[in-house]
Amino acid sequence: MLNASLIEGCIRKDRKSQKELYKLYYGYALRICLRYAKNKDEAVEVVNDGFMKVFMTMERYQMERSFNSWLSTIMVNTAIDHYRKQIKQLEMEELNEQHQVEDREHILSNINYEDLIKLVQKLSHAYRTVFNLFAIDGYTHEEIAELLQISVGSSKSNLFKARENLKKMLIEVHNVTNHY
């Protein structure tokens, strides 16, 4: 349980307190970073980089604020830092062709968390980051453009293509599942 003494311990750089905080919030942080990383190893790396920032800046945390929200912001920013360079250098992929219309709600409702994460991780860095920021973490296109140093148009285009790719992959998963 997060309490004042645990936070004070982390501010003092007490290793036991740091471990306790890490234990408490590892799962929460990993769930965020798994969406931004291309695999589990990279996600753990981002989680650890994020916790490094948490431990270095713990004194800035204000108790009255939600710790989850503070941690979430740090993790998302760390994930963006991690991939900012790659995102800038990756060329934007061409628009995919039109896909057949399917009942995606049905497919989504049957897919489990692990498979869904795998689908997100299959997206390119640029698509994955924009989709996560917009669809899941609630950033606007203007904020995303500023964060990733891209244009608002690129952000919208990447989001569109990310959704299209996800929908395509969902159908593929659905077809394979039905086939077997």
Binding site: K13, R15, Q18, K19, Y22, K23, Y26, G27, L30, R31, L34, R35, V44, V47, N48, F51, M52, F55, M56, K85, Q86, Q89, V101, E102, D103, R104, E105, H106, L108, S109, I111, Y113, E114, L116, I117, V120, F134, A135, I136, R163, L166, K167
Partner: protein, 371 residues
């Protein structure tokens, strides 16, 4: 069947993706703990380096000001007291004369088991030695009598001769503490010692003399080390990756803290030439790598960026030679310094055998030297 709107699609995705319940993993904590330990070490060495640098400057300034400071009244009074205790009654009054006090204040005499020891003094005092020696010649009896018992006239004569003939002709100058700034091209490669891809290095340094020919040097250098490496130079987590790597391009921003001994080989009042050797610490601020894969692998280039991840303490052999030319204003000197840096351990994220070479252009400033 209807297709979901983008908003609904995002919402369902959002709900679904937050369902995951992930457990704590000890292995991940161990990785973080390693990072924390590295960070702690980095902070410790950074702070220690800063403190050492300030201490060196502080000690330097103290030493300089101490050398310039005249002998204090208290010190003088003590020496007068010593002299008084050694003198005979017949010359008691003459001891108080200024030249007698000067002689003892110079520290020329030290009595250890009835032996007279000649104690070298800085150049600034020798004019007074000559003066005192002349005056002693005028009062030979007084001088002899002022010596402790058992010291013969011959010894006293020897003392005067030693002081006047040897030290006066070759005044010794205290070597000054030197501050320097330098800049120059820095060449880096993994497969050869000299040359490679160019970068830039600049920095500040301080040289504290240990003797007339030896000094200890440290400082803070900043450099951009660009280099090309082969897959075999780089330590990958997955050893098989090496087979699909065509080459690696790297650009690293590094803070370097050298710690070395400088030996002055020779020179004159205008030129000096010396060699330096020591160990340097590399603190990698930012490392950027571009992994270029072989066409057969069909993979796109991969980019990696690391910040403040790797530190190598006293892990690089630092060898150089220095030629300095004094400027008209004797406090300043310009110099060139060709150097080689060879790592004892792998450098950076990929533990590459990164060798550096280059030439620094230096501007030196001597802290405690008059124009």
């Amino acid at each position: 069947m209807e297709e979901l709107s983008d908003k609904d699609f995002d919402q369902i995705f959002k709900n679904k993706i937050k369902e995951g319940n992930l457990e704590y993993e000890e292995e991940s904590w161990l990785k973080l703990e390693k990072k924390l330990r590295t960070r702690d070490r980095f902070v410790f060495f950074r702070n220690a380096s800063i403190i050492l640098l300030f201490l060196s400057v502080g000690i330097g300034i103290y030493v300089v000001s101490e050398k310039k400071e005249p002998v204090g009244k208290i010190k003088l009074a003590k020496r007068v007291e010593k002299l008084k205790s050694a003198k005979t009654n017949s010359i008691g009054d003459s001891i108080a004369k200024p030249e007698r006090v000067d002689l003892n204040h110079l520290g020329l005499l030290k009595t250890v088991e009835n032996k007279v020891i000649v104690k070298p003094r800085p150049a600034v005092d020798y004019a007074i030695v000559i003066d005192s020696a002349k005056k002693i010649a005028q009062y030979p009896v007084t001088f002899e009598d002022s010596l402790p018992r058992g010291v013969q006239k011959q010894q006293a004569d020897e003392l005067i001769l030693t002081s006047s003939s040897n030290d006066i002709n070759t005044p010794r100058k205290a070597k000054p503490i030197t501050l320097s700034i330098h800049i120059g091209p820095d060449f880096n490669a993994t497969n050869r010692v000299i040359g490679g891809k160019s970068g830039i290095a600049l920095g500040l340094g301080i040289s504290v003399p240990l003797s007339r020919t030896l000094s200890i040097q440290t400082g803070l250098n900043y450099g951009v080390k660009n280099y090309n490496a082969e897959g075999y130079d780089y330590a990958f987590n997955n050893p098989n990756t090496v087979y699909s790597i065509a080459s690696i391009e790297a650009a690293c921003k590094v803070v370097e803290i050298p710690l070395r001994i400088a030996y002055l080989i020779g020179g004159n009042h205008r030129n000096t030439f010396g060699v330096n050797a020591g160990l340097a610490s590399y603190i990698m601020l930012k490392e950027k790598y571009r992994f270029i894969y072989t066409p057969q692998s069909g993979r796109k280039d991969r980019f990696l960026e690391e910040r403040n991840t790797n530190q190598h303490y006293l892990s690089v052999i630092d060898l150089s030679a220095t030629y300095n030319l004094k400027l008209k204003n004797k406090k300043f000197a310009v110099g060139i310094e060709p150097y080689l840096k060879i790592p004892l351990s792998g450098i950076g994220e990929g533990s590459v055998p990164l060798k550096s070479s280059g030439i620094s252009l230096k501007l030196n400033y001597e802290l405690n030297k008059k124009k």
